[in-house]
Structure formats: C-alpha cells, structure tokens
Symmetry: C2
Subunit: 576 residues, 2 copies
C-alpha cells in the first residue's frame, strides 16, 4: 500500500492542526471481527478473496474512522492510529480516499459512449507512438473514421460562415476601411444585421436563455422556408450542439428507471448514454437490416407493448433521420405512420434531424417530422415533436463551434416554463454557435455576393461525400463476408461482417466482442479507426462496425485497398 | 374543452390507419364511479373542485385507455369512443396529453434559479412595454443588475483576445497582406501558435474531450505561473463555462438524496439548482455577515456533523472565493483551515474561483485552493481539489463565449476515467471558448506589441469596477435601515435591508417574500433589476438583495440617486 494514500484519511505527520483520530482497543478488535465474519465463501481464487477482504476492511474501517474523528471515544484504553492501522487495516490496501469508483453515481458508471471509447484511446496511443517512434507501426497516420468530425479530416469550413463569425467576434473590424478588401460585402452586411439584433451589439454577453431573439427569428424563418409551415422563435432553444438539447429532454422526461424511451437499435450512443445518466430505461426497437434499415411501426408497437407490460411508462420515441449509424433516409409514408403512432400512443417524438442536409441519393429527400405532422393536419394540440439540429453536420461540419438548437412544439405553457428554467440554469449557449446556427438555416441567397462561391463550396462537399459514400459502400460489399446497405444519407456506413467461427473464438478468448476484436486488428494493421457495432447495439449474433465517409476523397482509394488487404488477411487467418 | 386536445389520445377522424379504442359499458361506468369516489371534501371553491374532478377523470380514463388500446375487451357490449367520452370524460377538460408538469422529472420541478427567475421575467415584460409604449413607466430603460454580465451593460471586450478569436475563426486572414494593418503583430503570432497546436489547424473540428492539448498546456502554464506550483494539462477539462463543470462534478458525486454537498449560505444558486437536478441534498453552512461574510470552520464542522447525524453522506464542500453573492475574499489563514478540514473529513473541495481576477481592496489577494494545499505540503494523495475558472468574469467578462475549465487534482486514475467518459459524451466544449480560456490564463506579456494597450484596458476595467463597488457600497450604507459589507471582490454587493413591519405584512399579504416585494417595487419604480436575497439563501428573518457593480461608471450617480429616492419613498410608505 502507499503511505501517501493512507494519509488521505488519517494523518501521521506532526503538523499541529491535524486531529489524529483515536480508537479504543475494543473497537479495533470489533472492526476486525466484523469484517472477517462477512467474508463470503463463494469467492474462487485467493486473489479474489484477498481483494474482497481488503475492500471490506477498507469500508468498515473508513466508516468507523469518519465517526471516530468526530467524537472522542469515552474509553480510556486508546490506541494511537498507527496501532489501529496495524491491527485492523493491515489487510486493507489503502484507507478511505474521499472518492472511489465504488462511491460514484452508479448512473455515471453505467453510461457508455463507444464513439470515444476504448478503440479511440488505443488509437491515440498508437498516434503518440508514431510521433515518438516513426516507423513503429505498418502505417504513417491514424485515420479517424470513428466520429462524424469532418474538419478533423481536412474538410474546409464554408468561407461565408467564417467571415461572419470573425466579424462578429471582432466588431471593430467593421469600422476599418481595410475590411472591405478582406471580407465579402454580404458577410459584412450580415454581421451588421446580426450585431443589430444583439442588445448592445454585445457578442460577449450572456444572451436570453433560449438564445438571441434575432437569431431565433432567423432560424424560425429558415425552418418555415424549409418546411412550408410556420415556425416560432419562441419554440427555438439554442444549445451548445445537439447533445445538450438531448440531455435536456431526457432530464425533463425521465423520473425513474420505470420511465422508458424508445430508441432505434442500432442507435447513436448519445441516447443510451443520456438515458443511463438520467436514470431511465432504453426501450429498444430494431431497424430491419434486410430492408435497408427499415423502420416498421409494427415493431415500434410490439416493443412499446412489451415495455408497458413490464410496467415501463414509455415517454418518448427517438427517431434518427437520416440514420446514425445506419445512413438510411425515411420515406415520407413511413414518417406519417410514425407520427400517427406517436399521436395515438401519447409519445413525445424526439426527432434527431442533424443530418438533414446529408442526403446522397436522388430517390430520397429530407422531411422534418414537424412538416409531416403539420401536413397531416396535426397541430400543437395533437402531439409533441422536438426537432434537434446541429451546426456540426450537414455540409458545414462545424463540430468545434458547438452550435445547435431544438425546436419544441406541442408542449403546454407550464411544461415549456420548466424547459426554460433548465435552460436558464446554464445561462445560454455560446454566441458564436448561435450565430452559426442562424447562418446554416439562412445561408446566402441568389444575388448575394457570396452566393456562387457558397454554392460551389456546398455542392463540392456534398457531391464529394456522395462519391465517397458510394465508393466505400461498393468496397465493403466487394469484401468476403461483408454486406453493406446503401448510404442514403448522414455520414456513416454500418456494414455487417460475417465473422468466421475461429475469429469469434479468438475474440472470446481475449474477452473481446467479435466486432471489437475485428476493429482492433484493423486499427493495428492499418491505422484506420472504426467503431464496433456493439457500441451502437445490433441484433444479437450479428456483427458490424461504423465507418464514417469523411476521409478526404484523394485518400479513399488507399483506405479501400488497405482495408481490403487487412480484411483478406484477417479472413484467411481465421478461416474455418 | 378543446377538441384538438382530446384528439391527443383518441382519434375520431376517419383516417384508415387509426385504431379506435373500444370500451365496454360496464367499464365506462366503473371509471365514472371510481373517480367520483375519490373526490376529497377538502377542496374549497367550486373551481378547485371542478379542477380536481377533471384531473382525476383525466388520469383514470387515460390509464384505462392506454391499456384498452392494447387489448380488446372480451365483452360484446361495446361503446364507441364518443359514447365513452360523453359518459365519463364529459367532466374532463382534456384527455391525456403526453407530457404534463405533473409527469415531469420532480428534480426538474424542484430546481430554482433566481438569477433568471420571476423578477427578470417581469423586467423583460416592462422592457417590451417601454419599447411598444414609450413613456409608459417612470424610467427610460431597464438596468439589469441581476446578473454578472458585464458586456451587456457596455463593458468592452479586451481587444487582443478578440483579435486572436477572429483570426482563429477565419484563418485565411493570416495569409492576407491587409491583415497586418488590421491586427496586432502578437495577435497574429498567437493565432499561429494556437492553430499550430490544433491538429490540422481545424478550429471547426471536435477536439479531444478535455479540450485541445496545446490550449490545456497553455492553461497549465498559466496556473503554474499564478500559483508557483506545477499544473498538468491532463488535469484540465475545458468546458462551456464553469456551470457545465459544476454540473459534471455534481453528476459524478451525487447518488441519492442521502448524498450531500456543503454549500455556503448565501450561495450562488447554480449550486442549489445543480444539486436539485442531480437529486442530492444541499447541506448549508452560514457565512457570518457580522464579520464581513466570515467563514468559520467551526460552522462547517457543526453543519457536517448535523448532516451526518441525519444519515447524510457529505461528499464535498463548495467554497466560492471571491464570494458570490457576498463579495468577500478569504484570508490565506482561513483557506488553510478549510483545506485542513476537507483533508481530515475526506471531502472533495469544490473551489469556485471564477472571480480570481476581481479583487478591489489592497489588503486582500487571491490564492487558489490548490496553491494553499500545495504550500501546506499536501499533494495529490492528500485531498481532492477541483478549481473552476471561467472566461465570463474577471476583467474580460466574456460571458457569451461560454469558455471555462476545471482543474481536477487528487482523484484516482479510475475516477478520472469516469470524469473523462462523461466529458466524452458531450464530445468537447466550443473551441472559441477554449481559445479564450487559454488567452485569459496567458495574456500578453511585457515586450509584446499589445502589452501596453492590454494592460491599459485591463486596469481601466478593474479600477473602474473597484470605484463602482465602493460608490455603491457607500450609497447602500447611507440608506436608512440598510447595511452593506465591504465589496472586496467578485461583481456583487449583498446589502441587508431592515424592512419595516408594515412592508413585511404587505409582502405577506401578496404572497411575496419581503425582499422579493422590495425588489419588485424597486423595479417598477426605477427600472433597476436586483435579485432578492431569498434566491441565494439567508439567515431566516433577515432580508437582502444582490446588486451587481456592473453598470457603466457614468451611470452610477444616477442609479444611486434613483435607488435612494425609491428607498426613502418605500420606507416612508411602510414606516411603522
């Protein structure tokens, strides 16, 4: 044990201010007996036994010491702390540190987030090794295909957006003559408009808790233009990306583990993590891989009823459209069925629509769930719909700016008041992210100086993403034992890998899920980071991984050939 | 009732896909009887009675309808839904909406945040009235002295910081020759350094979950320079302001309401709100107004023991230094006692140090708690200290940028892993806020081109704040029945008002806390917004308000004279 650790609860040093807790001989003996009596016979190895005894001793002792340090024992037979330590705590590896994993909120312990999980930590280690020992691995760089983070892989930001942000960050530029040579005229005009909408033009001030009213007006106008149905600035809550908005809704809806949220499987693990952190239950519904990750309301109904029969109050349905990690885009008719289902069952529809700009096939288009509901004649009183949007995705990919919003409709005034209160506790989201959210919902228009360059940048990115998606999809489908659905949208492919028995056995032998084993071997052989399907959920006995389509286009051929070579070698190594 | 609302659970329209739940005649009768039986005789007015019956009917019906929509009743005697509605639900104003306040997370309902509470909503309404009907109130503008939001009241941002932010937002500026004319040479150099520390110079990419490593290095260097003790970039978690960092620690430490956090009273209500949201208990300790908001460890000890005797596991101690809302700065000796106390009691020391730059008196200075602990010879193994810092306060006051960090020390590797995991779920904080946090901890140095103008801006702001604090403190102390402690630091004064009996009675008669009543009358008479002491906590029977020192200096004389005139009139109106 470490003497330093020991000092955390009892101090042996002669510093004058420190109280040394004193414990009677009888008490120390009692403590020792008490924990020895509690040893369960079911612990197999002597190591387990030792750990158990140690832990038990630690707990009994520490709880005793906490109380003994508060009240002096009346007995005159006292042991100095060292003596106590030698009699009872000798078997404890350390005394009570103030915070241990065992004493943390169990909801935190339960939460998992595979997108930045073990495989990524492993990749970061390899990256450091590449830097300190070039040539130490059979690749030159780590390719992070684990996360939808376009600019980390070389995607350039949209110029107009960044011009406006720079001007809003440093408004004195607007008074300088040189500025006209450096910025487009419409970015200057837009910056003025935005500043005029911010009280005192203070981009460094906390805004209204929902976000700057002028920016919410712009976003509502953008939503209305997109959907053809009105949108209200009072329904917009600007947030630091979509994740905090999802957390806010989970915090609001989940009371105990008897409250459930219907989530797709596979799902984006923000949902499972957020539900775990807020102490609710994830009620899974399966997307049908055979029909291109189809979403059947019969499956929703079945899972809802099963959950209800177990006493779960299902409060909301999460739909991710376009899909993450699955990349499908819902058909309009399917969306109508989902709206009808939520309306009939009294479920809040939590619509993750952050990939609304990422559609890569001609036969699909994005429709917001609010638009679908309104087009069916359903209004505020019929059902509650929350739409999440983010500046991190789309063609803009501004992940680092942490901008986003949720549009909430169908909630009563007193419920909205509670949402507002929770938003207020966090004061407001960052103003640059707020400005960016207003820009992505109101980009340059025909006639604006930036319009053509803006459209060229936007189309360039989206067309390239579509080509990359198709190239990767074809490549995966060409590999032995791999099947990959069409990448209709979002930023990911979620191929299924039919692993040979021997690979599954090898994974099991090393305490790995088979897909995690595959992904780890891929990383070690190629430097490519993908996330095992087990991090998203999948039909038991099937194995997948999620791979982003985000590496720059000129790198795609090399990635494909490295991936294919690895896969062939892996399959031949473990062939039955 | 609204037909629209009714449609939320039962659909009467002829759309083909909708199942109409069918209910037997017996069941409908049973439902009616059941809720009539439950009517309590204690409801006073007929309105209350009607609401109760309505609510009860709604609940009984809705729970029945949810189950009946899943399984067809076996009885052949069936009523169509309209008949059911007319028999049982006629008294219900609406059928089950999916989310009501009663079905929200009770932790959310419990949470309060006075800084943006009722008084502010009232002020916003008055502001709108001033705009739509100029002259409708006896003042021209609303003066928001409720919140530490310097730039909303005209404080200008530090030029160097904004230059760097603009360049980082739009890095192509760095390649343009005109840029040298618009930006200081050291801001250009700093922007390059920052960009070089960000992988791919991608300010639009998600960073490491703790924040960009290069920026954390800069912050750690700044902390080390401030304290004279080393700081490690791995201990820094960059966050969107200090609030999310506080939430993160509360989420980690609080398991049930049996876990408590020692918090000062008066306190900044983020703490009470966060503890409520995370389901723990606030264990109060009182600051002593008579000794300048003194903090006695005997009081800490007393409250800790009282909480423990009630079965509460106290996990951490919150110290706000400089104090919010109380403005005191702790003496070094007092800090040493607090460190000793936390170490002996095994408490995490949560040190809110966001006002570390805001010290206005010569006889006090800021010492971080980590520095104090290290200077006592205590290291990582002795106690856990978390220091919260923010870009929103100090002389920079960049609230809208939502930047901040926490420095965590004294946690074991496995606990840190859990903190990292929670940070990962939210991906990262906004990069502009991260950059700004690195700048405030590493401002221009002697010899840098910006140094002199930077120092002039900084000193100008801090000296002005000190003058404003003193002027307001003197003004409050000159008012009848008001006493105000010295404003040693932070951005607030927390004067005590000795209200006449008649004022207290008038407040009680209108269901107001007496200090809330005073603040409301102040607002209506002067347009000045301050927060009632009851939002922060105070010794029962005493009344206070929190007023920021942030209005621009040229407005202070007018504010003081308006405040005084109001106070005199209020006191004479309610004099005994």
């Amino acid at each position: 044990m470490s003497a330093g650790r020991c000092k955390a609860s009892i101090d042996f040093s002669p510093k004058p201010k420190i109280q040394t807790p004193l414990v009677s001989r009888d008490t120390a003996s009692l403590i020792t007996k008490r924990f020895l009596r509690n040893i369960k016979p079911s612990y197999g190895s002597s190591g387990e036994m030792r750990r158990f005894v140690t832990e038990k001793a630690r707990r009994v002792l520490s709880s005793y010491l906490l109380s003994s340090s508060r009240s002096q024992p009346s007995s005159s037979s006292l042991l100095p702390p060292v003596a106590l330590y030698s009699t009872a705590a000798a078997m404890a590896s350390k005394l009570n540190p103030p915070v241990t994993v065992e004493t943390l909120n169990p909801k935190v312990l339960k939460c998992e987030y595979a997108v930045r999980g073990k495989i990524v930590t492993h990749a970061q280690r390899l990256q450091e090794e590449l830097q300190t020992q070039p040539g130490s691995h059979p690749f030159d760089e780590i390719l992070y295909c684990n996360i939808g983070n376009p600019q980390s892989l070389g995607q350039q930001p949209i110029t107009f957006f960044r011009e406006v942000l720079a001007l809003a960050d440093h408004p004195t530029l607007l008074d300088k003559s040189e500025t006209a040579a450096l910025f487009s005229s419409d970015s200057i005009q837009r910056a003025w408009e935005i500043l005029d909408g911010i009280p005192g033009r203070a981009t460094g001030a906390y805004s209204h808790s929902q976000g700057v009213k002028g920016l919410r007006d712009a976003i509502a106008a953008g939503i209305a233009a997109r959907d053809g149905f009105p949108s209200n600035a009072d329904d917009i809550f600007l947030t630091d990306g979509a994740s905090p908005a999802v957390h806010m809704m989970m915090q609001l809806l989940l009371r105990t583990e008897k409250d459930g949220i219907l989530c797709p499987i596979p799902q984006y693990p923000l949902y499972s993590a957020s539900i775990a952190l807020h102490g609710g239950s994830l009620v899974p519904y399966y997307l049908d891989e055979a029909t291109g990750w189809g979403l059947e309301t019969s499956e929703l109904k079945k899972q809802l009823e099963e959950a209800r029969s177990k006493g779960t109050t299902v409060r909301a349905l999460v739909i991710i459209n376009p899909g993450n990690p699955t990349g499908q885009v819902l058909a309009e008719e399917n969306q109508r069925q989902i709206v009808e289902f939520c309306k009939n069952e009294g479920l809040v529809l939590l619509a993750d629509e952050v990939y609304q700009e990422n559609i890569y096939v001609d036969d699909k288009s994005f429709n917001s769930f609010k638009k679908i509901a309104r087009s069916m004649g359903y209004g505020e009183e019929d059902l509650a719909v929350v739409s999440f949007q983010s500046v991190s995705k789309g063609y803009y990919g501004e992940c680092g700016k942490r901008g986003g919003y949720m549009e909430i409709t169908g909630f009563s005034a007193d419920v909205r008041e509670q949402i507002y209160k929770v938003a207020s506790v966090n004061l407001c989201s960052n103003i640059s992210g707020q400005i960016l959210a207003s820009l992505v919902m109101n980009p340059p228009k025909v006639g604006d100086e930036s319009y053509e360059s803006y459209m060229a940048e936007k189309d360039g990115i989206l067309e390239s993403l579509a080509r990359r998606a198709k190239a990767l999809e074809d490549a995966f489908n060409s590999m032995e034992g791999v099947t990959c659905n069409r990448a209709e949208g979002a930023m990911y492919l979620f191929p299924r890998i039919h692993l040979p028995r021997k690979a599954i056995d090898a994974a099991t032998a090393t305490n790995n899920a088979p897909d995690a084993f595959y992904c780890q071997r891929l990383l070690e052989a190629t430097g490519i980071v993908v996330v095992p399907g087990s991090g998203f959920g999948q039909v038991p006995g099937t194995w997948h991984f999620r791979c982003t389509i985000l590496p720059q286009e000129d790198k795609i051929p090399a990635i494909i050939s490295r991936f294919k070579a690895f896969h062939e070698s892996f399959m031949s190594e473990f062939s039955n």
